[in-house]
């Protein structure tokens, strides 16, 4: 094989890793050449993150061997991996919010002493940023930065340590299309310097655009690697899913019903008491799906909180079918007919330590048949729970076990199923398919579309443009707490939305 002439930065042979008796990685071989951008493609749960974590020293494989520049190597800790020149940018950043960018770069660096030369550090940080197209202010504190900027700091941290292998775990999930473009340039530049980049993604067009080679994982196994130039997106999709698949999209609607939810001039504070939603107004009619596009952190969370009663608005109105809910409690919002699927499933929405049955009853337990007076009817929990588990195809449930042991897709099916089961007038969802595999995404999308068909008013708050374009009838763009764009889906394109999301104001209405 001609490949053998090429210098391998890392080679994995027969990597095995098991969690709860399930193979996250099974006998995986993987070769990373020096100076290439190598995409790792696969559905959620395919074992991409596990493989990366093994490379970065966070997990140790149960079996298998790793060769670094041809030498057999074992990383016991991420620190050892870093010292050997292998670093990873995780999906959840590992930065200290209260320290400056420069201080974060210096943190844990092996060659720096106890006393920091701040001026030197700032200079290096600025130079590094300019060289790689990752400009950041070294004196800024991390909490002041946007998510995209924080990601730059994470990458700079690795470059500052001069790592030879960079692993980026779904880096584009938090970026606007324009920011993603810039990141791709940076990745190409790093590769041209002889560094290797592992790019984890499940977005085919990105993989196609930036990578030299692709390795596809499915069910923990390596199902094939190809040169990107030779790969058709459809082939990659089939390798990833194992079958042909088309995600559901909305049908052209023949008009909507009466307005159900009317939000006018809503203003809501975030946890720090800063106004995060700054005068948002919109209306959703029965059977309509309104999408809210925006980069994470532009007031989406507070908007959802304001409409569901979780954060009392400073001013403005939330009116449901003529009834003003603005001042009412969370419970009243639920009772009047507002269902809500929050973004972080286990952080809010599900009680991780309770059973699946308990979680499925979380909105209905107050009434018969779940309770009789003050007593819970435990048999109903079991029966109804079983019914819902079946209806919404929640897999992996074992009696008595806490729900947190389910996979992300099954957690989401349980959560969305519970909310759909309420048959409420309004359904609010935040990034409902984020991090889900294609099968679960399909299931969740179908539920959302069925709800709108039933006549619910659906508010879909998401950062995933594909999802927004596929499901929404109308799209609003939120930027810094304000609606900066209002378009029919037919006239929206990813480019146009991207510009609006980045704050390039071009009010079209």
């Amino acid at each position: 094989m001609a490949d053998q002439d090429l210098h391998l930065a890392i080679e994995l042979r027969g990597i095995d890793k098991t969690f709860y008796g399930v193979h996250a990685n099974e006998n995986v071989d993987f070769q990373l050449r020096a100076g290439e951008v190598h995409a790792l493609l696969g559905e959620n749960g395919a074992g991409k993150s596990t493989l990366c974590s093994i490379l970065a020293g966070l997990y140790r494989p149960d079996a298998g061997e790793m060769f670094l520049n041809g030498e057999p190597t074992v990383f016991r800790t991420p620190k050892e991996a870093l010292a050997a020149g292998v670093g990873m940018v995780y999906q959840h950043f590992r930065l200290v919010p209260n320290l400056t960018v420069a201080e974060n770069l210096a943190l844990g660096h092996p060659d720096l002493g106890q006393v920091l030369n701040q001026r030197e550090l700032h200079k290096t940080a600025t130079e590094l940023g300019e060289r790689y197209g990752l400009p950041v202010d070294p004196a800024a504190r991390v909490w002041q930065l946007s998510v995209g900027q924080q990601q730059r700091v994470e990458i700079l941290k690795l470059l500052y340590r001069d790592v030879k292998v960079l692993i980026l775990d779904e880096p584009t999930a938090v970026l606007t299309p324009q920011e993603a473009e810039q990141l791709f340039k940076t990745m190409r530049q790093m590769a041209s310097e002889g560094r290797s980049v592992i790019f984890v993604s499940h977005k085919l067009h990105e993989v196609k655009q930036v990578s030299d080679r692709v390795t596809v994982l499915r069910g923990g196994k390596n199902v094939g690697g190809v040169d990107t130039a030779d790969a058709e997106p459809a082939d990659l999709a089939r390798m990833m899913v194992g079958r042909d698949l088309e995600l559901p999209t909305r049908e052209e609607s023949d008009g909507f019903g009466d307005p159900v939810l009317t939000v006018s001039d809503l203003r809501v504070d975030d946890d720090r008491g800063l106004e995060a939603v700054r005068g948002v107004s919109f209306e959703i009619r029965s059977g309509e799906v309104v999408g809210i596009a925006g980069v994470s952190g532009n007031g989406q969370r507070e908007l959802a909180y304001g409409v569901t009663g979780l954060a009392p608005p400073n001013s403005g109105r939330v009116v449901l079918e003529g009834e003003d809910l603005t001042e009412m409690s969370v419970l009243a919002h639920i009772d009047k007919g507002i269902a809500y699927v929050p973004q972080s499933r286990l952080g809010m929405g599900l009680a991780p330590g309770l059973t699946t049955e308990d979680n499925l009853a979380l909105k209905a337990y107050r009434r018969a048949p779940y309770s009789k007076g003050v007593r819970l009817v435990t048999s109903t929990f079991k029966e109804k729970g079983g019914e819902l588990i079946e209806r919404y195809d929640v897999r992996g449930v074992q009696p008595g076990l806490p729900i947190r042991l389910l996979s992300g897709g099954n957690l989401q099916k349980a959560l969305v199923g519970r909310e759909v089961e309420l048959e409420s007038k309004v359904l609010i969802l935040r990034s409902p398919t984020r991090g889900l595999d294609v099968g679960a995404t399909e299931a969740v999308r179908n539920l959302v579309l069925a709800e709108s068909k039933r006549g619910a008013a659906v508010l879909l708050i998401s950062e995933d443009l594909d999802e927004l374009l596929a499901l929404s009838d109308r799209l609003l763009v939120i930027y810094e707490g304000q609606i900066v764009g209002d378009l029919e889906t037919s006239e929206a394109t990813a480019e146009r939305l991207g510009l609006l999301m980045a704050g390039q104001s071009e009010m079209s209405s």
Partner: protein
């Protein structure tokens, strides 16, 4: 490639056997550690343990005395369990216990001999619950509304409660102090009509009340709407808020319930075996031992009953040891060791440790050969 001898991995649900095996093992391991220390000090551990078993359950008299000690431990154990389940770290069981006793004896003395037992006893018992809850509220309200750290406040309030009791008996001519014993300050005896009757040796009906309360608490947590909400709040406050459950109110309620249970322990103890606000008979550390009981019972209200009996026997064995020249601190040491092993045992309930599979080992060997 290094070969891994053990693999630690989280397990889903521990089997029932394991849930029992770990606490039992914790106790046995503590006994082994205790034996080492006893052997170092030149005692025969088996002989000492034999004496302890004898003192705890060796006769009908011993068993009834152990049950007397079990009563308050069930309640302080419940007090700790309901609070810890909600992640409310009430370690003020000691102070709440004493305030339960202060309220119970105060009400009993105020009622006097004129009220019939059928009315007086319930009133005294309820007063103790109110006393414990009131003392807990001093820590609970700031915790819920201002976010103060309840570990510190409840701990400090223990000392304040202790000193208030000492003041009532040693420092003042309060109604709690016995006027007939001016030289030797002690608690004024409670009227007979306010005392819980005995039914077996010195054992009073308090033990049955305590067991009934444990069953009620179990029902409350696992079979009522209120308990369901409580479990949701304890598991995820955010999710509870999302589901429309009033989180602050729930935390306040559980904190006060915890205080009331510890207060009841004081009430039953003083209306049962003690019979007056007598510091020497009350300051036995029931509040703190309740934490050990709750931990060893893994916060399960029903399991608290047998665990409290075990701890009761251990406490009663202390004086018997003294009589053969071994410091009763041995008992405290054993208690501490049990707690440490019980907490460490949680690791084995949450995780499983196994040897690598045969297949894995082969792969490792191959890896070794390749190197």
């Amino acid at each position: 490639m290094t070969q891994r001898r053990f693999i630690v991995e989280p397990r889903g649900l521990a089997s029932a056997q394991l849930n029992i095996a770990v606490p039992v093992f914790s106790v046995l391991a503590a006994l082994v550690v205790g034996a080492v220390f006893l052997a170092i000090t030149g005692e025969n551990p088996l002989e000492v343990y034999g004496k302890m078993v004898d003192a705890a359950v060796g006769s009908s008299r011993a068993i009834s005395e152990t049950l007397i000690t079990t009563t308050p431990l069930i309640l302080t154990g419940l007090a700790a369990a309901v609070a810890f389940k909600m992640l409310v770290w009430n370690i003020g069981g000691e102070g709440q216990f004493l305030f339960g006793a202060i309220f119970a004896s105060g009400v009993a003395i105020w009622l006097g001999d004129s009220v019939p037992s059928a009315l007086a006893i319930p009133v005294v018992i309820i007063a103790s619950a109110i006393g414990g809850a009131a003392w807990a509220s001093i820590a609970a309200i700031p915790r819920v509304y201002l976010g103060t750290n309840e570990i510190i406040t409840t701990l400090m309030l223990n000392f304040i409660a202790l000193n208030i009791m000492n003041y009532l008996i040693f420092g003042s001519n309060s109604p709690w102090r016995d006027p007939d014993s001016p030289q030797f300050p002690q608690g004024r005896p409670m009227p007979d009509s306010t005392r819980i009757p005995e039914f077996w040796n010195r054992l009073d009906y308090g033990i049955l009340i305590a067991i009934a309360i444990a069953l009620i608490v179990y029902f409350l947590i696992y079979k009522t709407r209120w308990g369901f909400e409580l479990r949701v709040v304890g598991d995820s406050a955010n999710t509870a808020r999302y589901a429309g459950i009033g989180v602050s109110k729930k935390i306040l309620a559980v904190f006060l319930l915890s205080g009331a249970l510890a207060g009841l322990a004081g009430g039953l103890f003083i209306a049962g075996p003690v019979g007056g606000l007598d510091p020497r008979s009350l300051v036995l550390g029931f509040g703190f031992t309740g934490i050990i009981v709750a931990a060893l019972a893994r916060l399960n209200p029903i399991a608290i009953i047998p665990v409290a009996f075990l701890m009761g026997g251990l406490i009663n064995a202390g004086p018997a040891l003294q009589s053969i020249g071994i410091p009763s601190a041995t008992v405290t040491m054993l208690q501490g060791a049990i707690l440490i092993f019980a907490v460490a045992g949680e690791f084995f309930i949450a995780n499983r440790i196994r040897r690598p599979d045969r297949k894995t080992e082969d792969a490792s060997e191959k890896a070794g050969a390749a190197v």
